[in-house]
Symmetry: C2
């Protein structure tokens, strides 16, 4: 059992954020002792899942829905499983997007390195798109698909 201050330190989250999560219904079963929140292992695990779902791009109101399902027991296993499968697809898509972004960034890093060495961008434009170093080719392709 932990106080809000302890949980705040454990997760490096402001107390105000924990209270906000609680107000939004993310800890539907949290107990209180004369008004004071008691975070049990259940809430600690919930918080880990909250961070995961948030990082996957899920909104607070949908995390609330998930937490409500958790309170409902075995009847919602398949809903919960489907939610995580949808999250998996979303995260995989996001990672692909980020890989494309990284490709373009790498191209730009190469580009400015060349511009710095040349003192101008002129000849870089000229050498595109056929004379690119092979390692840079895909970044260019990606950036100009």
């Amino acid at each position: 059992m932990y106080t809000i201050g302890q949980v705040s330190e454990m997760f490096h989250l402001p107390i105000s954020t924990l209270r906000y999560y609680d107000k939004e219904g993310l800890f539907p079963d949290m107990q209180r002792q004369s008004g004071i929140r008691r975070f049990s292992d259940r809430e600690i695990e919930a918080l880990r899942v909250i961070e995961c779902l948030k990082a996957s791009g899920l909104e607070i109101k949908d995390i609330k829905q998930f937490m409500a399902w958790c309170s409902e027991g075995a009847a919602t296993y398949s809903l919960r499983k489907e939610l995580f499968e949808t999250r998996r697809k979303a995260v995989e898509a996001e990672m692909k997007e980020l890989q494309k972004t990284l490709d373009m960034i790498n191209f730009k890093c190469w580009y400015y390195e060349k511009a710095l060495a040349d003192g101008s961008e002129e000849n870089i434009i000229e050498m595109l798109p056929d004379k690119l170093p092979p390692a840079i080719q895909k970044y260019y392709d990606n950036a100009h698909k």
Copy 2:
């Protein structure tokens, strides 16, 4: 040369967003013809870079700074290069975060699949953390590091 409507279709961005970007200074050199914006190749390329920098997590006001550097010519090559190198680090970090998130999601998918097969979560808790299927082990480790 394109009108705002054509660019809107090319990039699948609302016209209001393009005007907002312009207002925020993201197209510092855009020309107008009797009040109407003319998007040249320069602005089209700028828009590609804007999408890249946005996807990398950069804020609009910092993208504006970058676009201003582009207008200043060769004197800012190294600033621009450093910006992209910083973006590379940020994106790489974000991808690592997303991989951890994905690991936990995969664990949860496995968990609910097992819960559904068993009809209860009881025995799953019991079989943790030593008897996990090897393919799932790292997801659990990650989720409970």
